[in-house]
């Protein structure tokens, strides 16, 4: 579904993406994991066309995205920090997006709006919302147009446990529909129940991209968090740990 070939991106001196290649398929839930500043968000933004890679190609449904935009109708994106026009009310935000996308109502997925009970804050301007509420709005927007790919950047950060649970269940339901879901998160426990694959990025390089089952076998840990922690602790600067998993 999404294929990335030899992507490079440099921000001045920092090499954000270093020759990254990967391929994501339908029904997969990919957990993008890596330390802060490892290039996770840059990768996501590259897929979304917000960041323009210096070299390399990204294919969406076997089509080179090449600065195009229409492919984005199949992607729902939930940013790490949702920022919205201050003066706009929540309800207006939704109606504006619907208006711009011009999708018939029956195609819309309003589940999250309902479950987060967002209707009650439709009259509030965006600037008055708390961080967590904003996250709810962001999530609802990401799922609204029933996209076949979901890209969620730190989806549960700032959400209360209840909302976090609602969102996780929603993700699982969408996964069940055979959608491709890309998640970055620092809260690894959240990912346990969702993930099918783990992609570990460090200093702009893919350290590995593995099936979760394989990963568990390799590390002997059931919990994703512990598995990753072992990798991070055991790592050499040269990245010898890879051999441990790839043998």
């Amino acid at each position: 579904m999404i294929r990335i070939e030899n992507i490079n991106k440099r921000f001045k001196k920092l090499k954000a993406l270093d020759n990254i290649s990967a391929s994501f398929e339908k029904g997969q839930v990919i957990s993008l994991i890596g330390p802060n500043g490892s290039g996770k968000t840059t990768l996501i933004k590259s897929i979304l066309g917000m960041v323009k890679p210096d070299s390399g190609k990204i294919y969406f449904n076997n089509e080179h995205i090449n600065g195009g935009f229409s492919y984005r109708k199949d992607i729902g994106y939930m940013p790490q920090i949702g920022r919205y026009p201050d003066n706009m009310k929540v309800g207006q935000l939704f109606s504006m997006l619907k208006n711009i996308r011009n999708e018939p109502d029956e195609n819309l997925d309003n589940e999250l709006i309902r479950e987060f009970n967002l209707c009650t804050i439709f009259e509030k301007p965006m600037r008055t919302l708390s961080g967590g509420t904003r996250q709810k709005v962001s999530a609802a927007i990401a799922f609204l147009f029933n996209p076949s790919v979901l890209i969620l950047d730190e989806p549960t950060a700032g959400l209360d446990p209840l909302s976090s649970e609602i969102l996780k269940e929603k993700i699982i339901r969408e996964k069940g529909k055979g959608k491709l879901i890309l998640i970055t998160s620092h809260i690894l426990s959240d990912l346990d129940e969702l993930t099918t694959h783990v992609m570990y990025i460090q200093e702009g390089k893919i350290q590995f991209l593995k099936n979760i089952e394989t990963l568990r076998e390799d590390t002997g840990e059931i919990k994703l968090g512990k598995a990753i922690a072992r990798i991070m602790k055991g790592e050499d600067p040269t990245g010898n740990f890879i051999s441990e998993f790839l043998k």
Binding site: F11, K45, L48, G49, M50, V51, K52, G67, F69, S70, Y71, R72, K73, I75, Y77, P79, R83, Y84, P85, D86, N87, M88, M96, L97, N99, I100, R101
Partner: protein
């Protein structure tokens, strides 16, 4: 196609700054006509506002708006919309709101008190300069990454177009006063939209003086139909080119 600009416009109207600006222009224009019994003197003061305040406000307002709507732009970018369309919608929204401010704030008083050729020249120049400097401000904002830099850049541009440029022209005129520079100064004026607008108004306001000396040349040139087309053409270029570069830069930009 007008959906996006409508939201931009709506957002601008909500901020109320534009309404304050409209009121400011309206009150200032009205009080000028009220204070001076001679409308030509009021027109002179209005001309100064159009040539100095208008570019400044257009530049600063646009720059601030651009950075304030960064979130909106980001949100739109995650939607299936082209970057070109997003930026042009922003431009359309800002330009439209500044333009209507000007047309209401200055246009109505001028039409009420002095619907003369000079009046129309003033309105034409004001409208053109609003669009030109909105376009230039978009370029400045797209180029510079943070707000402070963007506003600083916009101020610098304003300073350049309204003051420094003319200083340089005067310097050139005096350094090469032994040469026939009439045609050259004509060219120089085209390279600065503020000067071009000023000369356009002057041709109506100071026609007597312009007929003297080399002024007759400007009068002959700008006063003719070809001169009018030329003025409109250059102004249009000044609107399109910065905007076009801004779109190109925006297309390549990481957000």
């Amino acid at each position: 196609m007008m959906k996006l600009p409508r939201y931009v416009l709506y957002d601008i109207l909500r901020s109320k700054i534009i309404i304050a600006y409209t009121l400011f222009l309206f009150i200032v224009s009205l009080s000028m006509f009220q204070m001076e019994e001679d409308s030509s003197k009021a027109m002179l003061s209005l001309m100064n506002i159009i040539l100095i305040v208008l570019p400044l406000v257009s530049l600063i307002f646009t720059t601030i708006h651009y950075y304030n709507s960064y979130e909106f732009i980001e949100l739109m970018l995650s939607q299936p919309l082209s970057r070109k369309r997003i930026l042009l919608s922003e431009f359309a929204g800002v330009a439209l709101s500044l333009l209507s401010s000007f047309m209401i704030g200055v246009g109505i008083p001028v039409l009420l008190y002095s619907a003369s050729e000079t009046g129309f020249a003033l309105l034409f120049t004001g409208a053109s300069l609003t669009l030109v400097f909105t376009s230039i401000a978009f370029l400045a904002s797209v180029i510079s990454r943070d707000k402070a830099k963007g506003i600083g850049f916009a101020l610098l541009l304003w300073f350049y177009f309204t003051l420094i440029y003319d200083g340089l022209v005067l310097l050139i005129l005096f350094s090469f006063s032994d040469y026939p520079l009439e045609k050259f100064t004509l060219l120089l004026s085209a390279l600065n939209p503020v000067d071009l607008g000023r000369i356009f108004i002057m041709l109506k306001m100071d026609v007597s003086a312009l007929m003297g000396y080399t002024g007759a040349l400007y009068k002959d040139f700008f006063g003719s139909g070809a001169g009018l087309l030329y003025t409109i053409g250059i102004m249009t270029l000044w609107i399109i080119i910065p905007l076009w570069i801004a779109v190109r830069k925006f297309n390549k930009k990481d957000l």
